[in-house]
Symmetry: C2
Subunit: 194 residues, 2 copies
Amino acid sequence: MRIYLAGPEVFLADVEALAAAKRALCAEHGLTGVFPLDPPPRTLDGAPDADWPDWLRISQANEAHIRSCDALIANLTPFRGPSADVGTVYELGFMRALGRPVFGYTQVARRFGARTLAHLGPAARRRADGAWEDAEGMAVEEFDRHDNLMLEGGIVASGGCLVVEEVEPGRRWHDLAGFARCVAAAARLLGARG
Amino acid sequence: MRIYLAGPEVFLADVEALAAAKRALCAEHGLTGVFPLDPPPRTLDGAPDADWPDWLRISQANEAHIRSCDALIANLTPFRGPSADVGTVYELGFMRALGRPVFGYTQVARRFGARTLAHLGPAARRRADGAWEDAEGMAVEEFDRHDNLMLEGGIVASGGCLVVEEVEPGRRWHDLAGFARCVAAAARLLGARG
């Protein structure tokens, strides 16, 4: 079974070592980990055009990778703000719409509402009903989840699960504890379906 | 034709007035605007369970709304950081995977790389090759686009378009200039397909 490994680690200088470590953990569970930077599959949904700019070629290679996989694991650790990386989240929604199981993990245990309030700082204010909003009047989402409800909703509805593993802040993009637990859970759930 | 209206405006206290204004602009172009807070369609992909928690019920109602629509317009104006709202981006990826046209608009003209550097401030640093990275060693994406390349890549590949309309910062969540241009472009492109 092929499992797409979505996450912002593609932005690390040492991404290849991390990709190899993730692939090895997948292999331990009998899964083939597919990394965004892998050569694109031959079964492209519209072969990439050599004339395309780099950003479009990469985007369409990633979409083709996702279509070629049986499931997806998303690294939903907060990235430059209260929420996960939007590229990863796009891919999570994409695979969910294909009807295949999606899994996620985050290496920050603090919940979304508290993280958002910390991000807003003194700009946060109370509405008449007691709910928090930001300086632009946008409510702080508070459903006691780990990010916007669409993310965990799609994961749960797909039959997947979200793993939460608090990791030392300086190691958040290299520690594989959350991923290891997530891939083990995914292997169990995918095996149960097979 | 039904068009799903994704965006973080659901977090505004006066969301209903904004939803009505967006629906009216859709109607001017012969389109039915479907707002996330509308009553969920009957054609649910797995009827929502009364026992579900609110966050899961909302998430699955939104997924059902998207499945019931012919196209999607996403408000990709940056939200609490350099990128768009992750709930909106999840929905964009979801509709793209269904193979239907997706459109986007942003009311901030400054590009993603410059916005990310402004967000990082003095924490940004240069790699040996001159590329920018953050304090955690994650590169600053710089393809001269308006957000992570997956977003605009999916829009372009779907046959849609991204509208950029700079709006006074204090009016970003209420000014409908970007949306109006986007829905007009969507109506033209969808009509050309019909």
